[in-house]
């Protein structure tokens, strides 16, 4: 724990999130306060008005569906009215409303209307607190991962979420890239690596050239509408149709509660089938029979073969996307030195088999599919926080995930910086006027894959005027796009003849306006001030606690020696360190009540330790 100001890496997932750090040259996943590596990305307001995050929120999801927000990642940085949002509104049990300016998505939660970054911030804040409890130090800086295919708006919204959670976001990096960082860390590898990332909501493929400590991203590809949830949906459909057939056309999809149970059961069955050849799906009292009849139960047996049959085309799509990405990058499967599987869906034997057959090699077994992304983020955070002059820190050469360009006449999209370009970068293109004596031109900056401008994301726009009047096509306008290492896009336009120039820094709209963001951050500052005040009152408690923590820590070596051969020793040490962690967390969180509660266990531990150390003077 030599790092003065520890930094963390966060994999903010659709279903689960993970936090990790690098300590003394080793990467490690930080367990949350309930000892789990995975924290469900779920936020809820319980019946008693208490805000719940993570496993606690997940546990009450079935009984409180309207006030439980999950899969917020699918909405982050999206516009109100976008196809994804419309789809989500149909299936999500919680209420979505339009933002004040009508262009982003908000969630009605309790008596408040929250933006998506605020929801994600709650998850991030939980992870931050977990990390602080674990490290015993405040954590202020982090790298957060997003799917490779996230556009600028989605990345910006994720960054805002980090800010709201009280984190300085050092960098947003792509999940597959992060996985590759984790794979190569400390391995002195020199090879081409393909990361096959099939997560809950999206599918990403990345190709990287790892050369010792330099990670050169060659290409990224993927499908934003392909993930574990699609597999679940196949199982759900199979269950609902089967159920309707057996029960005289009862449609489970009309019952939100039943649907939620069905969704959970489908996901569980899918996961079980990765290990077992067959599984039972049993949902008693799923829906009322209606008209005084007794409730209906669902009882089904699902085999692995059936699951594979239901989802065959999804697996085929993954392979097709992989093939296209390799082709775009001019990489043959024979040149690939390693295939890394990331995301829970890659546990499915059929997926592993498809990957093995396509690449003609066994995928890498050395990385943990759920944790690897967070670990990579931690490694990048570490490199960005404390870059050593020794040249041994990792260096990530990242690429642009999507084409960047302009709206041109006819509603078309003209790419200026193609996807998979190494950043930082700048490119200049010449454009011209389309009308005689045109004196101004609107520069609309877009991002996306479509040839039609309207299908792409608008990042920003500005007007260049003062153009010399001339016949159409005779004016040369030089447009320069610039992406910095931080991923900030700048665009400038210049009339070559007059030298008239105009430029903007594109700050993608995350949905939150700058004023709103400021307000949220101000509110939090007030919150902190309040806590500080209450802290003052309990200053004495803190002094006592700190003194005891100090004494206990000083006794640890002696106690460890005394307990070495005792079979209860490990347990005792663990219990004691749990007390220390809780006490530290209470101090860090300035939570007076929690600290008060920890004083007694601290005192007990100290007495116990003293006794043990005295009993075996000299220790080991």
């Amino acid at each position: 724990m030599s790092d003065a100001r520890p930094v963390i890496g966060i994999d903010l997932g659709t279903t689960n999130s993970v936090v990790a750090t690098v300590q003394g040259g080793m990467s490690r996943v930080i367990p949350n306060r309930s000892g789990q590596a995975l924290t469900p990305s779920i936020v809820a307001v319980a019946r008693n008005g208490k805000r719940l995050v993570g496993a606690l929120a997940k546990r009450q999801a079935i009984t409180n569906p309207e006030q439980t927000v999950f899969a917020a990642k699918r909405l982050i940085g999206r516009r109100w009215g976008a196809k994804e949002v419309e789809d989500a509104r149909r299936v999500l049990p919680y209420a979505l409303v339009a933002g004040p300016e009508g262009n982003d998505v908000r969630v009605q939660l309790g008596d408040r209307t929250l933006s998506i970054p605020e929801i994600s911030a709650m998850v991030l804040a939980e992870l931050k607190a977990d990390a602080e409890a674990f490290l015993g130090k405040p954590v202020e800086r982090a790298v957060i991962t997003v799917p490779a295919y996230f556009n600028d708006g989605q990345r910006q919204a994720t960054k805002d979420a980090g800010r709201i959670a009280g984190l300085e976001v050092l960098r947003i990096i792509s999940e597959p890239t992060s996985a590759a960082l984790a794979y190569g860390f400390g391995r002195q590898t020199e090879k081409k690596v393909v990361v096959f990332d099939l997560g809950g909501g999206t599918f990403d493929v990345s190709i990287l050239d790892i050369s010792k400590s330099v990670y050169d991203v060659v290409a990224v590809g993927g499908d934003t509408y392909l993930g574990g949830e699609d597999f679940d949906r196949r199982v759900m459909d199979w269950l609902t149709f089967g159920f309707a057939r057996e029960n005289g056309g009862v449609d489970l999809r009309t019952d939100k509660m039943a649907l939620q149970r069905l969704r959970d059961a489908a996901e569980r069955a899918k996961c079980e089938l990765s290990a077992a050849p067959s599984t039972a799906i049993h949902l008693p009292f799923l829906v009322g029979g209606g008209e005084g009849k007794s409730a209906l139960h669902l009882d089904k047996q699902l085999s692995r073969e059936k699951l594979e049959e239901l989802t065959k085309d999804l697996v085929d799509r993954c392979i097709a996307v992989t093939e296209r990405t390799l082709k775009d990058a001019g990489v043959r499967t024979a040149q690939v030195g390693e295939v890394i599987l990331v995301g829970g869906m890659t546990r499915m034997p059929r997926v592993q088999r498809a990957v093995r057959e396509f690449f003609g090699r066994e995928p890498c077994k050395g990385v943990h599919p759920d944790e690897v992304v967070a670990v990579g983020a931690a490694i990048q955070a570490h490199a960005l926080a404390a870059p050593g002059g020794k040249g041994e820190e990792v260096l990530l050469l990242d690429v642009t995930p999507q084409n960047l360009g302009l709206l041109v006449v006819g509603g078309y999209f003209q790419t200026v910086i193609p996807k998979n370009t190494t950043v930082p970068t700048s490119q200049t293109h010449l454009f011209t006027t389309v009308q005689d004596d045109q004196t101004s031109v609107r520069i609309a900056v877009l991002q996306g894959e479509s040839e039609r401008a309207i299908d792409n994301e608008l990042l920003g726009e500005f007007v260049l005027d003062g153009i010399r009047p001339a016949r159409r096509g005779e004016v040369s306008i030089e447009v320069t796009f610039d992406i910095s290492a931080d991923g900030i896009v700048g665009v400038s336009a210049r009339d070559v003849a007059t030298g008239q120039q105009q430029s903007i820094t594109v700050t993608a709209t995350s949905g939150l306006t700058e004023a709103e963001l400021k307000k949220i951050l101000d509110e939090q500052r007030d919150d902190l001030l309040e806590k500080k005040q209450s802290w003052k009152e309990l200053d004495e408690g803190r002094e006592r606690a700190l003194a005891m923590i100090h004494d206990i820590e000083a006794l640890v070596p002696a106690v460890e020696g005394a307990l070495e051969r005792s079979k209860f020793g490990k347990d005792a040490i663990q219990k004691a360190s749990a007390v220390l962690v809780r006490a530290r967390a209470a101090i860090e969180a300035r939570d007076a009540a929690a600290l008060e509660a920890e004083l007694e266990p601290l005192d007990r531990t100290l007495q116990l330790f003293r006794g043990l150390a005295d009993g075996r003077p000299g220790g080991r």
């Binding site: 050239d209 330099v214 260096l395 990530l396 190494t422 290492a485």
Partner: protein, 350 residues
């Protein structure tokens, strides 16, 4: 920093200057051995940034040379190095010039400088790892001694390509055939115009055989063939007449028959053949020739005369007289027919 002028002086020297100019021609002050007489801007060197002086110099030196260095020089590899070398050099340079290497440090103006250098590095890498682009760039940036060699090689290559193309054309049966047909037709037409009908017929016939689908060539060839046959028949006919006059009956008969071979409808040749055959006592042959002659040329007096002669020889005097009368009718000046008819009448009377 004591070797040159002080930073203050430099500022006074050119206060408007924002960054070192690409071809900084001795405007400034600090010199180091490593950067080969390059003049650093002392104001920038003493900027408030969290960077060692050597690092600063390295960055400034690279940045100032961006406009001058080739991609090879920028990456520090020899001209013509391989894609793998370029890639390795790029990764090595990235470690020194990627802004992330200095994350968390105060960089002042050096952040923008680093990014400028890194962008050029990436550009250089993109060109030099692509085989086609590297080759083109290599030609553009070849050192003088290499350039001559390269130009020579390029010309040699071009010549070889042209040669190869020609050879392929010759060898390729399709291409060869097409060009041969063209040749033959041209030659055939020339011969046709010059009246060398046999030659023309031969060439065009060959061309038609090589390109059986071409109707124009087919028609041309048929016409040439017909005209050549007619010409040959009349030549042979003249030859036969000459032989007959000089009393070489055998040769005359052969020539008449050959003419008929070329042009079976040559009535005079048939008549001649009949005449000579009769004189040679080949009565059947004479009769066949005479009948063929009348069939081919019902308006030819000689044909009827020949028939008359044959009929006379066979004793069919009445028919012979009719045939001879027909011959005289067609050609009142046909002396042979007149004579023979007179003789027949005499014998008839007698």
């Amino acid at each position: 920093m004591g070797r040159g002028r002080s930073p203050r002086e430099t500022l006074a020297f050119d206060p408007r200057r924002r960054r070192p100019i690409m071809s900084a021609g001795g405007r400034c002050c600090l010199k180091t051995d490593r950067h080969d007489g390059f003049a650093f801007d002392a104001a920038v060197l003493s900027e408030d940034a969290d960077l060692e002086v050597e690092r600063r110099k390295e960055i400034l030196f690279a940045e100032a040379n961006l406009g001058r260095w080739t991609h090879w020089e920028l990456l520090g590899i020899p001209w013509g190095a391989t894609a793998a070398q370029a890639k390795a050099a790029y990764l090595e340079k990235a470690k020194a010039f990627h802004p992330d290497r200095y994350a968390g440090r105060r960089l002042a103006s050096f952040r923008a400088r680093l990014e400028r250098v890194f962008r050029r590095l990436t550009e250089a890498r993109d060109v030099l790892v692509d085989d086609a682009r590297r080759e083109a760039y290599g030609r553009e940036t070849a050192p003088p001694d290499q350039r001559a060699k390269l130009e020579l090689r390029r010309l040699e290559d071009e010549r070889r390509v042209a040669e190869r193309r020609a050879r392929l054309a010759r060898q390729n049966p399709l291409v060869a055939r097409a060009s041969r047909v063209g040749e033959l037709v041209a030659r055939g037409r020339q011969a046709l115009e010059a009246g060398r009908l046999a030659e023309a017929a031969n060439d065009l016939q060959l061309a038609a055989g090589l390109d059986p689908a071409n109707a124009e060539i087919q028609a041309l060839a048929a016409d040439a063939r017909r005209r050549a046959a007619t010409r040959r028949a009349s030549d042979l006919y003249e030859e036969a007449l000459a032989a007959e006059r000089s009393g070489r009956r055998g040769a005359a008969l052969a020539a008449f028959r050959e003419a008929l071979g070329s042009d079976p409808r040559h009535a005079r040749a048939a008549a001649g053949a009949s005449r000579v055959a009769l004189e040679l006592g080949e009565l059947d042959a004479a009769r066949a020739h005479a009948e063929a002659a009348v069939r081919a040329g019902p308006d030819v007096a000689a044909a009827h005369e020949a028939l008359g002669a044959v009929l006379e020889a066979r004793g069919a005097k009445k028919d012979a007289r009719r045939a001879l009368e027909r011959a005289l009718e067609l050609d009142p000046r046909a002396e042979g027919a007149k004579e023979r008819l007179k003789r027949l009448r005499w014998s008839f009377l007698g």
